[in-house]
């Protein structure tokens, strides 16, 4: 058992005792051992095979409202004690002395992947890249370049703290990216598609790989005939899946408790108020099995949970990590996450999505005389103090007389969170989720976003056409 735990419980007890020895309210040790690989192919050449191992621990102490943190790649008792001493240097209390810590029995969360990536031969990954490359190129001569990468990440974590918690998780994620360039008289256009899940090598079933490659190629080719996007305010229909990032940016970050406790979010002190159209029920759920943001426990050891943030337009709750929750005298909602052992945890989303309603996607489009249909969105960015956000349309079309017509070139959408939430006027029944990476304050964590096809009465499209 001890070898499975990344660190011996006796060592954990000793390090936590050192961390607490100058007087602290809370001490925690986070241990991580992550192995990852990336294999890239460009123009049919297997260009790069990379392996990475990141292993280390971070010691955190909390005294009053102050957090001290230190991390080390040295997992020996002396290395960890040095980190604990560095972390506690912010504790100024006189009350030192012997503090005894005894963590409880370990709660072990097993890997849910069927095929652990480290057991997969390199040639199997390369076979998948070749297959995807062939499929992308089979979409016609306009596809002049295909770039692919296949990556996996096997992350084992252990969290133990002075409240006696000792818990572990083994998170395995796999990902295939396909990127195509189509060339012609109108210049170059790009298409991208990603297949990603909290899963092992079983993710790469032939039909899924084929669909991903085909999507990237089709997108690049379609955009060859794209016209400049219009500029101005238009109704927007968002296709299912990718549009979930809108909720991540438009209000998700504003519902994270760090922004709430510091009163920097526009959603501060608004629980119980109508903050969105009554069609909006927004959920953050780390337990969605297999989704990109799925976890058994967060990076503070709290179990993932399903948290309803907005219900029928009414704000119901925020997302919490340990620090913010304990300041408010409540439990964490399982949203304390960090990129690696070198980072402090903070409030982060997991899988954030809009619940379905009764309409069908066809009805919503048919019911839109003129507007923009967004089939794929790129990343976005938000200012939580104002709610103003931006995100990019990577595949979009005009809607004319209730039908999807001409493809549009890439452009950004801008809007304001509270404003956009009120403008949701149709939500369909075709739920889907998409993987993404959230980069709050420079820390990258995997997140899922999702929604059914939906319409907004108006958003600003930043194109160049009049």
């Amino acid at each position: 058992m001890a070898t499975d735990l990344l660190l011996d419980p006796d060592v954990i007890d000793a390090v936590l005792a050192v961390a607490l020895a100058q007087g602290a309210d809370f001490a925690e040790i986070f241990v991580e051992d992550t192995r990852s690989t990336t294999t890239t192919m460009d123009q049919r050449r297997v260009e790069d095979l990379m392996s990475n191992r990141s292993r280390g621990a971070g010691v955190r102490i909390i005294v009053g409202s102050t957090t001290g943190y230190a991390h080390t790649a040295d997992l020996s008792l002396s290395g960890l004690i040095a980190a604990a001493e560095a972390a506690r240097s912010v504790a100024q209390r006189a009350s030192g002395g012997a503090t005894v810590v005894a963590v409880g029995a370990p709660q072990v969360h097993a890997m849910r992947a069927l095929i652990e990536p480290s057991g997969v031969d390199r040639s199997q990954r390369i076979d998948i890249l070749r297959t995807a490359d062939d499929i992308a190129r089979s979409h016609g001569g306009a596809i002049s370049q295909v770039q692919l990468s296949i990556a996996d990440n096997s992350r084992r974590i252990l969290v133990a703290n002075s409240r006696g918690l000792l818990t572990t998780d083994h998170q395995v994620r796999s990902r295939l990216n396909v990127s195509c360039v189509a060339s012609g008289d109108t210049g170059m256009q790009t298409g991208r598609a990603t297949l990603a899940a909290t899963a092992g090598f079983e993710l790469f079933a032939p039909e899924r790989v084929a669909q991903t490659a085909a999507n990237a190629a089709r997108q690049a080719i379609t955009k060859m005939s794209a016209r400049p996007a219009p500029s101005g305010d238009f109704p927007i229909v968002l296709a299912n899946g990718f549009g979930g990032v809108l909720f991540h940016e438009a209000c998700g970050h504003g519902l994270e408790a760090d922004a709430i406790v510091k009163k920097t979010s526009i959603y501060t002190d608004r629980v119980g108020e109508l903050v969105a159209s009554e069609l909006v029920t927004l959920v953050d759920d780390g337990t969605c099995d297999g989704e990109w943001g799925a976890i058994a426990i967060d990076d503070e050891g709290a179990p993932a949970s399903r948290n309803v943030l907005i219900e029928n337009g009414v704000l119901t709750d925020y997302m919490w990590d340990y620090v913010r929750a304990s300041q408010e005298g409540r439990e964490s909602s399982g949203n304390g996450r960090r990129q690696t052992y070198q980072d402090l945890p903070m409030v982060r989303m997991t899988n954030t999505f809009l619940e379905t309603r009764d309409a069908t996607p066809d009805q919503i489009i048919a019911d839109t005389p003129y507007g923009v249909y967004v089939a794929a969105l790129g990343g976005g960015q938000v200012d939580t103090s104002t709610g103003d956000f931006v995100f990019g349309m990577t595949e979009a079309y005009l809607i004319e007389n209730g039908e999807i017509t001409a493809p549009l070139r890439e452009a950004n959408l801008v809007g304001n969170g509270p404003d956009v939430l009120a403008r949701v006027d149709a939500v369909a029944n075709d739920f889907a989720m998409a993987p993404g990476t959230c980069g709050k304050w420079g820390q990258q964590v995997p997140v899922g976003s999702g929604q059914p096809t939906m319409r907004l009465t108006g958003m600003t499209v930043g194109g160049t056409a009049a």
Binding site: T39, Q43, R44, R45, E47, D48, L49, M50, S51, N52, R53, S54, R55, G56, G64, S65, T66, T67, G68, Y69, T72, A73, D74, A86, S89, V90, S123, Q145, V181, M188, T190, A229, S231, G232, K262, K263, T264, Q342, L344, G378, G380, Q381, S385, T386, D388, F389, V390, F391, G392, R409, E410, A411, N412, V414, N416, T460, V461, G462, G463, T464
Partner: protein
Amino acid sequence: MSDIRELARRIAGDATGNEQIEVVVVSGTDTNVTAYHGSVEKFTSAMSAGFSIRVLLDGPSGARIGTASTGALDDAAVSEALAQARDNARFATEDEFLAFARPDGVPAPAIDLVSSHFDDLSTANKIEMALELERATRAGDDRIRQVQAATYVDYRSSSVIVSSLGIDVETTETGAYLSVAAIAHHDGENQSGYGLSVGRAGSELSVETAARDAIRRSTEMLGAVKAPSTRTTAVFDSRTASELLAIISTALSGDMVVRGRSFFAGRVGEKVAADAFTLVDDPTDIRHFAASPVDGEGLASRRNALITGGTLNGFVYDTVSARRAGTSSTGNALRGGVAGCRALQLLPGTEDFDAIIRQIGDGIVVRSLRGVHSGVNPISGDFSVGITGRMIRHGQLAEPVREVTIASSLQKMLLDVVAIGNDVEWLPGLAAGQTVAISDITVTGS
């Protein structure tokens, strides 16, 4: 001689037969203090090291490269990484252009990136500076309601690059910065802005500069409205101009050019920008925070003129992209085996921000860019980003604006540059900043 350098030499010396080995070790320490509500919110002290090994195998139709990295420096972790890099190389495709850098005789510039004052501040001084930054920002204007985070950071970082081809360099740099994010409040409205002070040691930093910057940027946005939709001149301030240069630089990477992913490909000698536009990449210029004596492969840094008087001179290359293009490295290897610009600066013009605003008469000042990653495509050149800023009317700064997009294409924007400021600001990151005015931009607001 550091132990790390000795270890790197030992590993590189393990190369046998048709094999070459390159070892890069980056190690350092950093201190990070965040103040909030008059006390220390977070204090982080860390030592870190990363070891990256590349193995190149020569074969009948070219070379293959495999990479492995690890965060641990013990013998077992390093041996495991070397074995994985070797294994990885065996599965790559042979490519006649793949090679590691060979020493090319160009001497590395004698630039010192370590401040002799780096150790002047005690931990208590650093904490006091973060606390003072928060106090100064709150006290500087009645409308500042919140300071999200006032942060002091310093670091000392060393890089060792050793290869079996004779590359053997070690560089060390120090750096420090203060950053503060302020929220101004008035009539039920919030606006945010951040301020910065940068140096090579904590003692070089100015609390006042960072606080003033954050206060101005947050308070000036109060009362912001949507801009009228129009086509006008956009004036990028030093911060947003620096971001814009960084975007454009992607298309100047020899890697992107040889792979046919740059809108500059095949255009050397052509007019690609306005006459006033002269862009150099010069990591030998000590004033630039991205300065460094060597590149990511250990070759000497050098000054490369990329666009001169609006004419495209050439691109930046590392060893592999240079071989593909039939030229030699310009000392522009970045980490991770790609080529890219390292320390950009524009030739300054003759006038400052205020004079340029007066000349322009009517337009829009761009204070912040949003959605750059999603809204700019360096392959097609499509450009559409969200901004905040100020309208310019009759040569004066007028009302603040938000929820606005500006759009054009990178190709057109370069040709539409109408003024470049003399107000160079040495910002951290890839590009120094100064005022840049660009005409004929589509502004979409109300």
